[in-house]
């Protein structure tokens, strides 16, 4: 990262651009995911079944939804570790409000709003006071989770109306397609378009790759980031609602530790932790890959923990491999220059 060493910058030649595009991690991950799905449905009993599909969709629901805004945030070079705690807080609030006798139809928007407010706090601390997002969101991670426990203690609220809990766990017309899949697809589409086909999306990459140049191009860096955190909070809130309904149980500890899974999935999907690089399809693939692996391994009675090793390794490799290839290319290029000018 030392800004002195210009030598580090890989000066890919013209064809290199295409090569690196093909060998870019997010395309690798897409292929990888495809392979895993195919192999699993061939070799693992009951993996391909429609019911298992439903289960998988339900399992990846929280991660995939939270990953949508998280991708944007990391693309701008920031991070939000407080999402899982926001989820927990909204879940607690949902239970509490429900006990207060509010109607579920009012509770749900309120919960999304609470999530957004959590995001506002993050956004203000980070863009308003210019605090490092890592430290801030580690702080709010503890804070929001703590508040969640304050609200609901260690208890649980369970008696949510069946037609709602049923909707979340159910499938369209009792078929193979789970209801929540509509939600996932819709949100994924919206975020995908915003990130990849709008000026706003373009600005995210500019901010992440070079905030100063973005500023010089008339992009409102701070404001952009602020709203990303708000959206991230709102989505986390929504997921809090869905989580509560899926398990028909509002608890303060819901979704504890999910933030790491989400960040892992996003990075696995080829988004650079430095910002400026990464695509949503890659991230979606990353999430699917993780969930599918988990599901398949469980069906094969492999302990879920063995998967931790796979997840972790994939995560490190997703950054390590590109770096290694880059370094190799760089050296090769320099050597070539040496020979060229030696002549």
């Amino acid at each position: 990262m030392s800004d002195i060493d210009l030598g580090k910058r890989p000066s890919a030649n013209r064809s290199g651009a295409l090569k690196s595009r093909l060998t870019s991690w997010d395309s690798i991950i897409l292929v990888l995911t495809g392979l895993v799905l195919v192999i699993a449905s061939i070799s693992v009993d009951n993996f391909g079944t429609s019911r298992n599909f439903t289960f998988m969709v339900l399992d990846l629901l929280p991660i995939i939804l939270i990953a949508l805004p998280m991708t944007m945030i990391i693309v701008t070079g920031e991070i939000d570790l407080s999402v899982a705690s926001t989820l927990g807080l909204t879940s607690s609030m949902m239970g509490w409000l429900w006990n207060q006798g509010l109607s579920i139809e009012t509770i749900i928007p309120i919960c999304v709003l609470i999530g957004a407010i959590c995001g506002v706090v993050n956004g203000f601390l980070i863009t308003g006071l210019g605090l490092p997002s890592l430290a801030v969101t580690i702080g709010t991670l503890a804070l929001y989770r703590g508040l969640a426990f304050v609200v609901l203690g260690d208890g649980a609220v369970a008696d949510f109306p069946w037609n709602y809990t049923g909707w979340v766990t159910g499938t369209i017309g009792g078929g193979a397609v789970p209801n929540v899949l509509i939600l996932i697809v819709a949100l994924a589409l919206i975020f995908g378009i915003v990130q990849h086909a709008t000026p706003f999306g373009r600005s995210l990459y500019a901010i992440g790759a070079n905030a100063q140049a973005a500023h010089f191009s008339g992009i409102r860096v701070a404001r952009t980031k602020f709203w990303l955190y708000v959206v991230s909070g709102a989505v986390a809130g929504l997921v809090g609602v869905l989580w509560t309904l899926r398990y028909s149980s509002a608890r303060a500890d819901n979704g504890a530790g999910l933030e790491l899974a989400v960040v892992a999935a996003v990075l696995l999907g080829g988004v650079s932790i430095f910002g400026g690089k990464g695509s949503l399809p890659g991230v979606l693939a990353g999430v699917v890959l993780l969930t599918a692996l988990q599901n398949a391994l469980r069906l094969e009675d492999v302990s879920g923990q063995a998967l931790n090793i796979v997840t972790g390794s994939l995560l490190v490799l997703s950054v390590l491999l590109p770096n290694v290839t880059t370094a190799v290319r760089g050296n090769w290029h320099r050597r070539k220059l040496r020979q060229a000018s030696a002549r």
């Binding site: 210009l6 890919a12 086909a197 709008t198 500019a206 992009i219 040496r338």
Partner: protein, 511 residues
């Protein structure tokens, strides 16, 4: 004849650069440069910005490895794996921009790496501060050794850097524009110390744009241009004009001259613009069809002024008017909406997003105008980018290539395309031809000239005198954040501008 009244023949040069080349990506920064540096001499290294001076320094410092060629210390080939090796070889470097550790104390910054130790191999802080004290006394600066480096003024930072270099009892001392931020008194003290070092037998390499300093300090000078070695001669035998001519490498007339245009109505009006600690009470105006140059030394505050005008930096007081309407401060968007465009000084950090494709860079400021129903379709952007890179005859492979893969000159064209595509009525160009090859330079000059001819108002910040004199209708010279002189094309000569920039009494002050 140079060697004659330098060191005796028998003893090899303390440090020798031999046929060294270095290139970054497609940009060849240094090509086959050789010159010796003897113990006991002060040797100046001069050249325009981008001539490759700093690259030479970084190679001597062990930051960069030469692609080809060798460095010799006392006649022996050396290969520096890193700065540590260079240090070990007795080479101390004072960089253009200070490299202090803000969180460490001043004394510690000076001593870092070889702090005095107690017998328990612990750091002897008393001793450390004492050493710093001694150095500061020698430099005659009142600095508290125990305060942290964070918050030191640029000048003080520079002085600490110098103290750092002195402390290492270097046998070779390399100074890359150490005086840029120093006051006359401080400069004199520095020189006194450097002279004594030289007399003790150290080899000094001195880089500066201030010719009177060079003549005051150095015996010999090496001149570089476009990464190549031009000459190494006795300073005594050279006039300032000779040096400049050799640096620029061509007579000023050879530069593409700006064609005369009848200036139209006033486009930009800056009044009493001030920012604490950066610039004060800056006023000037630009008419359409006019090219106004902001000249001055590095650190005189030229870029800062224009960045404040464009809104990327804030300012404390004063007003900026575009076509008579007052501009909201601190908002690049407002500036863009008012028809302003800024081609910034630092291409890599401010002008372009190196990782992004050429296409994306060109369309960055116009993305919203190009989108339909808030959506962007690849086609629109590509066509737009293609048109403008075409207009500027940018040499590129595919628009989807990362802009970082282009040569300096073509990168600059991309930046120009990016901003011209916004159809500005006022174009601010900061160091438009820094570090780009002569050919492209001429193209850029031609372009600016024709833009002006089409009624565009142009503000040009440039450190290259020939460029300033060749292109500008009027020249605003800044010194230490204030307007030192406003010269018309007729009044402007190298001397008048230089003198104004350096604060010597000259006709410049009349303006």
């Amino acid at each position: 004849m140079a060697e004659a009244n330098a060191r005796p023949e028998d003893q090899p040069p303390r440090l020798e650069v031999h046929d060294v080349s270095k290139s970054f990506g497609a940009v060849a920064a240094v090509q086959g440069v050789s010159f010796p540096l003897f113990g006991g001499e002060a040797h100046a290294l001069v050249g325009e910005n981008g001539a490759g001076k700093s690259t030479i320094v970084k190679m001597l410092a062990g930051v960069h490895r030469p692609d080809t060629g060798t460095l010799r210390v006392d006649g022996v080939d050396v290969d520096f794996a890193g700065p540590a090796d260079a240090k070990a070889a007795g080479i101390a470097v004072i960089y253009q921009e200070p490299t202090l550790f803000p969180d460490l104390s001043v004394a510690e910054n000076i001593a870092i790496g070889n702090q005095p130790l107690t017998k328990l191999r612990q750091i002897d802080r008393k001793q450390m501060s004492a050493n710093a004290e001694r150095l500061f006394r020698r430099l005659g600066v009142p600095l508290d050794p125990d305060r942290p480096a964070r918050g030191l003024s640029i000048a003080d930072q520079q002085l600490v850097e110098i103290a750092k270099a002195l402390s290492s009892e270097a046998r070779v001392l390399i100074m890359d524009e150490p005086t840029a931020a120093l006051s006359a008194v401080e400069v004199e003290r520095l020189f006194a110390v450097v002279r004594s070092l030289r007399d003790e037998g150290a080899a000094i390499m001195f880089i500066s744009h201030r010719f009177e300093e060079i003549t005051a300090l150095c015996e010999r000078v090496t001149i570089m241009r476009d990464g190549k070695h031009v000459a190494t001669e006795l300073v005594a035998g050279l006039s300032v004009d000779d040096m400049i001519r050799r640096m620029v490498g061509r007579d000023l007339s050879a530069l593409f001259p700006k064609q005369d245009v009848e200036p139209g109505e006033v486009v930009l009006e800056v009044e009493g613009l001030s920012r604490a600690g950066v610039f004060k009470d800056i006023s000037f105006s630009v008419r359409s069809g006019e090219i106004v140059a902001l000249a001055g030394l590095v650190g005189a505050g030229r870029s800062e002024v224009m960045q404040a005008v464009f809104g990327v930096d804030p300012y404390d007081s004063g007003t900026v008017r575009v076509q008579g309407r007052r501009l909201r401060k601190g908002s690049p968007r407002a500036a863009m909406a008012a028809g302003m465009a800024l081609v910034p000084e630092d291409r890599r950090q401010q002008g372009l997003v190196m990782e992004l494709s050429i296409e994306r860079n060109v369309t960055l400021p116009r993305a919203r105008k190009l989108s339909r129903l808030g959506l962007l379709f690849g086609g629109a952007e590509r066509d737009h980018a293609a048109t403008w890179t075409g207009k500027l005859q940018t040499k590129l492979g595919r628009l989807s290539d990362a802009v970082g893969t282009l040569s300096g000159g073509n990168q600059q064209k991309v930046v120009l395309a990016k901003w011209l595509s916004t159809g500005p009525s006022l174009l601010i160009v900061d160091e438009p031809t820094r570090g780009i090859d002569v050919g492209t330079k001429a193209e850029v000059h031609r372009l600016m000239s024709s833009l002006a001819a089409d009624g565009l108002a142009v503000v040009m910040v440039s450190s290259e005198l020939p460029e300033v004199l060749g292109m500008a209708d009027r020249i605003v010279v800044l010194r230490e954040g204030r307007v030192a002189a406003q010269l018309t094309r007729a009044e402007a000569t190298e001397e008048s501008v230089m003198y104004a920039a350096m604060g010597q009494h000259a006709m410049g002050d009349a303006a």
